[in-house]
């Protein structure tokens, strides 16, 4: 299993920060997922062996954290917040709009593999609601028109 040099540098930097190896597990999993797209059996086996854990121990941790996934996602993970601050400002309309436009529901991926849609809990953008994250990018003060433009831009980015 080969990761990028950037991943390796970060991993090498991270492990000595802690008195126990497994402490590096959660951030390591997220960085690995960013590269591979999801936590495949191969990734899990590799990280388990690096941190002296069993694969089961690693899976046990993965299943707890909402950002970690063992299933492939689209290139762009569209995460729409519908928690209270977003809800009262139309967060659900944004979610429904995305669902309609992309033709997919919660945690589903478009057939072209570009977009996954997810209804998420508070992403810490309450004062700029309604808000969504596409991968790690925040998009705030959304309207359905603005969301349209954002999704179109990502689509354009993927085809360029």
């Amino acid at each position: 299993m080969k990761f990028s040099d950037e991943f390796e540098a970060r991993f090498a930097e991270m492990v000595p920060h802690y008195p126990t190896k497994r402490s590096a597990l959660v951030p390591t999993l997220l960085y690995a997922q960013d590269e591979v797209g999801f936590l495949s059996d191969e990734v899990i086996a590799e990280i388990a062996s690096r941190l002296d854990l069993t694969e089961l121990e690693v899976r046990n941790v993965i299943s707890y954290y909402s950002m970690l996934t063992t299933k492939p996602r689209g290139k762009f993970n569209v995460q729409v917040c519908t928690n209270i601050s977003c809800m009262v400002r139309g967060g659900e309309d944004i979610l429904h709009h995305c669902a309609k436009k992309l033709g997919i529901g919660h945690k589903q991926t478009t057939p072209d593999g570009l977009f996954t849609l997810e209804e998420v809990e508070c992403i810490g953008a309450c004062s700029w609601a309604p808000a969504a994250q596409v991968n790690y990018d925040f998009h705030e003060n959304l309207t359905t028109e603005k969301m349209d433009r954002i999704l179109d831009e990502y689509k354009k980015k993927a085809t360029q």
């Binding site: 959660v26 209270i84 009262v88 810490g124």
Partner: protein, 468 residues
Amino acid sequence: MCNLVIGKLKIKTGVPVFNYSITKLANFPIPMADLVSHPDEVRVVSRRFGQGAANLDRYLELDGYKAVQKALAMEPDSIINEVKNSGLRGRGGAGFSTGMKWSFVPKQSAKPKYVLCNGDESEPGTCKDRLIFEHDPHSVIEGVMIGALAVGAKSGYIYIRGEYRYLLEIMQKAIRDAYAKGFIGKNIFGSGRDLDIYWHGGAGAYEVGEESALMESLEGKRGIPRIRPPFPAVVGLWGGPTVINNAETLANVPHIILGGADWFAKLGTPKNGGTRLFCLSGNIAKPGVYELPMGYNLKRMLYEVGGGIPNGRKLKAVVPGGASCPCLTAEEVDVAMDFDSVAKAGSMLGSGGVVVVDDAQCIVKFALRTMKFYQHESCGWCIPCREGTDWIKKTLMRFHAGGGMKKDIDNIQYLAENMLGRTFCPLGDAAAMPTIAFVKKFRKEFEEHLDGRPCPYEKAGAEELVHA
């Protein structure tokens, strides 16, 4: 102009070292889309927002790393006393005295001691730590350092939630820059003391914001709370004594060391020192994060600072401190926003997330969305929380969809009351408290949903939640 003598060090500076009489800065020199301002603001934690202080040189120009040098020349006990006397209380939500918390750490310990900054900000309605990490990351590092000096720790960790990737990168750079200057690492500021600061990223979990679950997460495990006692101050990270503070709490500490406990205490109300970053969100004309003195009147905050309720609507309720706090009705908002006054009004100051709800919103739906959140985030470790949140959520879903029975209303309250105080960690309470308040204060709205009637607030043609 002044020469500051700190311990063995003499620092010559070109600017007046510290003039905290000027706490009200003018507008931000760099226009930032996410920043707002109001004349009533008192800038302490946010004084470097929009000033480019994520850059270390700029931070140094703005009194950066002076507090930690001053702290190096102080006895650990006098640091703790200064923080105690300042009236600083935990900004994460519990409002416990920070100095007191630090004083619980044993002086002698066979195991290493740690300071852990809680930057897992995920309480719905709260978006303040995000601005601190973005605009003033070094103030958090400095706060962790001073905390470490006070309790005798040699390592500090700054935990940032996974969704805040860009902030983790800002923090990584800030830590790297501080190492490069020798501010952290070996022999800091020539004091002969070693102090390491590390970053750590989460991967999505509200529960991890709870202190013992945070430690589990940092140790590479599922974020399940630990039973207490022993408290983290005695047995914490990897078994060592650990101080855990919210990012905003720690960002206040350098200002207290430089400005003095008296100055800080006087900014607020008795036993509630300083200011707070209030995150105004929801149905309010000018949402944003405002730094206002402790004890600032909520009504004034809503109508003067926040510009009132837009679209000709009326105020229905306010959640004063993040989703876990019982709501206040429109009649109850004339309250001073400090820990004790809000507690007296039957709610909590919490994490400073002020969520405003207008009269076009359905409280049953609001209660449902709140409970859906807690059900999703419950770690499932203890039964009252795991079963209670799920049961109440399901009841509220059926209720809101028109299948409610009269006995459900009392049952929801009964279930919530039986979760209170019976869970390993405060998540169960956080789910129960707002629910009880919704039922008690808006019973009439619940009753309006009975007998198969459609929700009176639902827009025509509105769809149900995409997933339950």
